[in-house]
């Protein structure tokens, strides 16, 4: 688990693995603790003068301390609510800034990967039925070492060609 978290922070996990792991971190408080400690370690190593120690817990605590408004509608209350909303927004914004900062600092690999991705697999459409003829013509002369796949693509291509007829 710890290794996976570390890999996630280094941007070494694939998207689906990362999502899966983030889900587990959310559910598992121990893992969540590890996640925070690793970030703290990273922050200390990179920028010792800006250490955010367990900021999210503090924000959460402050949010809980905010009064819950149960009173009926009224002008004064509305005013109060707006204040609450604003302070909440401010807290969220602060979290956002920290998150953004840690992204800037800690995940140099992330933008790089994002840039590499389209080169590897450009957004390409499904092959349209009309182009199946090219595929069949191509399959005729493909090396037949892996005959199993040859057969499977063949049934696929030929079937779709005929369905479309």
């Amino acid at each position: 688990m710890k290794q996976e978290i570390s890999a996630l922070m280094d941007g070494e996990l694939f998207e689906d693995e990362a999502e899966n792991l983030l889900g587990r971190i959310k559910r598992d408080s121990d893992a969540h603790g590890d996640w925070e400690i690793y970030h703290l370690i990273g922050d200390v190593l990179r920028q010792p003068e800006h250490v955010h120690c367990d900021l999210s817990a503090k924000v959460r605590k402050r949010m809980q301390d905010e009064p819950i408004v149960l009173a009926p509608h009224g002008r004064a209350v509305k005013q109060k609510m707006r204040t609450v909303a604003l302070s909440a927004a401010a807290s969220l914004a602060a979290v956002g800034v920290v998150a953004w900062m840690s992204l800037q600092i800690g995940h140099e690999t992330v933008p790089q990967m994002a840039m590499k991705q389209p080169v590897l697999r450009p957004a390409s459409a499904q092959i349209r039925p009309k182009a199946n003829d090219y595929l069949m013509a191509h399959h005729e002369f493909s090396p037949r070492i892996i005959d199993m796949s040859g057969g499977a693509s063949y049934i696929h291509t030929i079937a779709y060609t005929n369905n479309e007829k």
Binding site: A131, Y134, F141, I145, I146, S153, Y154, I155, A159
Partner: protein, 320 residues
Amino acid sequence: MRAALYGLLLAVTANTYAGERQISLDWLKIVAFAAHQTDYSGVFVYQYDNRVETSRITHVIEADGEYERLESLDGPKREIIRHHGQVWCYINRKMTQVDSQQMHSRFPALLPEQISTLSENYQAREAGTERVAGYNAQVFLFKPNDNLRYVHKIWAHTDSGLLLKVAVLDTNNQVVEQYIFTQLQIGGNIDRSWIGAKKPPQRDAGSPTPVEPVKSGTLTDSAWVVGALPPGFKKTMEIQRAMRGKHAPVTQIVFSDGLSAISIFVEPDDGDEDDVEGLSSRGAVNLYHKVLDKHLITVVGEVPPRTVIQVLDSVRYNGK
């Protein structure tokens, strides 16, 4: 032929200490033979582009050669029977026959020159043993020497050499497509009742519609050349063929590196708006269209998108 297979198996056992690469290539020969020399019947899954298709395949050897039957188990009912270069399709209760002379040339699947091409372009290594469909399988990994082709991983049945699983991976080790047997019977009593039933039923006999466009073409040598093929791709074929919906014959040039192939199709551009420039894909196969000098060029291959693009961009006419 059986004897040949066992001979190869023995050769491999004897060769175990002769070096990794050699073993894998001998194994490949066994794999290639096994696909044609084994009676088997099983269900396999084809997974590509977040889709899954299930088919049943039955392969038997009769006195007059191999018979292969493929049935789709999901979606509309499709059935294909292959025998001696002839193909019968049974789609939506209608039987049609496909002519394909090229299919004769498919056996043996692995020619000696293909093996040498393969070893020049891929690092072949054994990757342990795993269980697939209840059988022990030897895993082989073919890593290309550049990033212009995919990684191929195959799982071959330890006893017969039959392929139990095939995966194509990209450079990030993500699966691009894979075929996996989920259930398989090797040898033994396999249903052969379908073999006699391949002839078109009486009711359709009046109007058999041949399934185009698998038609043989004539060998040719056009002046179209490719400047930037990935290293190791060698020209294996150039033909002129008729294709469905095309008025003029289409030139097809095929290059292969032993594991995958790239086809280049050249035809006069008829201004069809459907043939817009662009990339499309299905599993490991990528297709790229482009109009060049009033010709529509199409590149198709089991190679990454960047490779079909690179190949197409380097196509030029070298004639007068």
